[in-house]
C-alpha cells in the first residue's frame, strides 16, 4: 500500500511521464504525414496527462505539466501558453472530481474527460477568436477533439497494462 505512494514510485512515474511526453512530441514532429486532409492525428499527450491525473495525480505534478506542455506548444506551432493553460485548468477540475470517479465504472470517467476535452477545444477557439487570431476550420478542430476522446481508452489501457498505473481506491484517496 505504501509502495504506491512512496517517493521512489512517484519519482519513477514522473520521470516516465517526462520521457513519454518527449517521445510523443518528437513522434509528432516526424515528417511522415505531410499529405494533409483526412482525419487529424489525436492529441495523445493530453489524453495521457488526463489518464494519469485521474489515476495517480502525484505522478503528474504541476511543474512537469507546465514544462512538457509549453515545450509542446512551442514545438507544435500552437499559440504558446494557451493550450498549456487550458490543460492545466482541466486537470485541476478532474483532480477535484476524481473522488467521485473512482466509485463509478470507466464510462463515467470517460464522460468527464470527454467534457474536459471538448471544453478545452471550444475555449481555445473562443479565446483565439477574442484575440482576433485566424481560426482553424471549425470541423477540423471538432474532429481533433473527437479523435482525442476516442483515443482516451487506449491511453488508459496503455497506462494500466503496460506501465502498471492503477487507480487509487477510495480508501487511499480519503486522506488526500
Amino acid at each position: 500500500m505504501s509502495s504506491i505512494l512512496s517517493p521512489r514510485h512517484v519519482w519513477t512515474y514522473r520521470l516516465l511521464f517526462g520521457v513519454l511526453a518527449v517521445a510523443l512530441i518528437t513522434l509528432k514532429l516526424l515528417p511522415l504525414n505531410l499529405s494533409g486532409g483526412g482525419v487529424p492525428a489525436p492529441d495523445l499527450l493530453t489524453a495521457l496527462a488526463f489518464a494519469w491525473i485521474v489515476r495517480q495525480p502525484a505522478t503528474v505534478p504541476l511543474g512537469l505539466m507546465i514544462g512538457v506542455f509549453l515545450l509542446a506548444d512551442f514545438l507544435l506551432q500552437r499559440p504558446p501558453g494557451l493550450w498549456t493553460l487550458l490543460v492545466i485548468l482541466a486537470c485541476e477540475s478532474l483532480r477535484r472530481r476524481r473522488l467521485t470517479m473512482t466509485e463509478f465504472p470507466f464510462l463515467v470517467e470517460w464522460g468527464a474527460v470527454s467534457v474536459a476535452i471538448v471544453g478545452i477545444v471550444v475555449a481555445n477557439r473562443i479565446i483565439l477568436w477574442l484575440l482576433l487570431v485566424d481560426l482553424d476550420p471549425l470541423g477540423l478542430s471538432l474532429t481533433y477533439g473527437l479523435v482525442t476522446i476516442a483515443v482516451y481508452p487506449l491511453a488508459v489501457a496503455v497506462s494500466k497494462f503496460v506501465f502498471g498505473l492503477r487507480k487509487l481506491g477510495p480508501a487511499e484517496l480519503e486522506s488526500l
Binding site: 502525484a58 499559440p79 478542430s141 481533433y144
Partner: protein, 310 residues
C-alpha cells in the same frame, strides 16, 4: 507517512496560490505572443533550433524505417509499376527530344535578338527534418538556416514545383510554410490565358485559386506559375495545374509531391530593381554641357518652362 510530502491537506493553500500565479503567467504569455508576435516567434524558432537538431539521432532512424515500410508496400504491385514506368519513359523520351530541339531553337533566337536574360537563379538544398506536428498547420522544417544565408520569404521548390516559402529562420533550421497551409497566399499566373490569381491554401491537399480575373478563360489542365507580383517570388516557377472541383471551384493540383518531401531547394531571390527615378531613364541630363539656356539668367523662372525651349 511519505505521502504527506506529495499530496497533503496543509499544502493545499500553497498549491492554490501557485496555480493562480501560473495561470496568470500563462495568460500573460499568450497576450505577449499576441501583442509582440515577431519576438515570440523568434523565441519559438530558437527553441526549435535547439530541440530538433538534438533529437535528430532519434528522428532520422524512425523516419527512415517508416519510409522504407511505405516503399515496401509498393513492392506488392511491382510488376504493374514497372510496366507503367516503361510506358512513361517512352513518352518522356519523345518529350525530351522535343524539349532539346526547342531549347536549341530558343537559344538561336535569343542570340539573334541579343536578349538579356535574368541572372540564373541559384539555390541552397536542404533536407526535411520535421513537420509542424499539428493537424492545423502545414509546414516543414529544413536543416538549413541563417547560417547558410537563408532569408525569410524565399521560395522553396522540390525538383519540379513550388512547395512553399520560408517563414521563420533559426540559426541551423528554417521553416517552410507549405502552399497548402491556411495562411499561405501567393500571386500566380495561369498560362496560357495569362490570368492573374491568388493561390490560397486551406489545409486541403489542393489549394484554391482566388481572385481569378476571368474564370471563363481558364480551363482544367492549364499551367499555374508564380507571377512574381509584389516581389514575393521569382516569376515563372512552376506551381501546378488547374483542376475544377465538383463545387465549381478552381483549385490547383500541385506539381510538387507534398506527400514525399525529402530534399528541398530554397531559391535565392534577388530583390527586384524598383524604378523610382523616372527622369534618369528618359534621356541625357538637360541641358547638355556647353549649352546656355536663354532663361537661365532670368531669376525665378519656372523650371518647367524649359520643356518649351528649342
Amino acid at each position: 507517512m511519505a505521502r504527506d510530502s506529495y499530496d497533503s491537506s496543509y499544502a493545499r493553500p500553497v498549491r492554490r496560490l501557485a496555480l493562480t500565479v501560473i495561470v496568470l503567467l500563462l495568460i500573460a504569455l499568450v497576450l505577449v505572443w499576441r501583442i509582440d508576435n515577431p519576438r515570440v516567434e523568434r523565441i519559438r524558432a530558437a527553441i526549435i533550433d535547439r530541440y530538433v537538431p538534438n533529437m535528430e539521432w532519434a528522428m532520422a532512424p524512425i523516419t527512415g524505417i517508416a519510409r522504407m515500410a511505405e516503399d515496401f508496400q509498393s513492392y506488392a504491385r511491382l510488376f504493374e509499376q514497372n510496366q507503367e514506368l516503361r510506358r512513361e519513359l517512352q513518352q518522356m523520351r519523345a518529350w525530351r527530344e522535343a524539349a532539346l530541339q526547342l531549347e536549341q531553337e530558343n537559344a538561336r533566337l535569343l542570340d539573334l535578338n541579343r536578349v538579356q536574360l535574368d541572372p540564373e537563379l541559384t539555390f541552397v538544398t536542404g533536407i526535411v527534418m520535421a513537420d509542424s506536428g499539428s493537424p492545423f498547420r502545414r509546414s516543414v522544417l529544413l536543416n538549413v538556416g541563417a547560417r547558410d544565408g537563408i532569408l525569410d520569404g524565399w521560395a522553396t521548390m522540390d525538383g519540379l514545383g513550388v512547395v512553399g516559402r520560408i517563414s521563420g529562420v533559426g540559426d541551423q533550421t528554417s521553416r517552410v510554410l507549405l502552399l497548402t497551409d491556411a495562411a499561405s497566399r501567393i500571386p500566380v499566373t495561369i498560362q496560357p490565358a495569362g490570368q492573374q490569381a491568388l493561390l490560397a491554401g486551406d489545409n486541403t491537399p489542393t489549394p484554391f485559386l482566388d481572385f481569378v480575373e476571368d474564370p471563363e478563360d481558364v480551363a482544367a489542365g492549364d499551367r499555374i506559375v508564380t507571377s512574381g507580383d509584389g516581389g514575393l517570388f521569382p516569376p515563372g516557377l512552376l506551381v501546378g495545374q488547374v483542376i475544377f472541383t465538383s463545387d465549381g471551384r478552381l483549385r490547383a493540383r500541385l506539381s510538387a509531391d507534398l506527400v514525399r518531401l525529402n530534399f528541398l531547394r530554397v531559391m535565392r531571390s534577388h530583390p527586384g530593381t524598383t524604378l523610382d527615378d523616372p527622369g534618369a531613364l528618359i534621356g541625357p541630363p538637360w541641358p547638355p554641357p556647353g549649352m546656355v539656356l536663354d532663361d537661365a539668367r532670368a531669376p525665378g523662372s519656372d523650371p518647367s518652362a524649359r520643356a518649351e525651349a528649342p
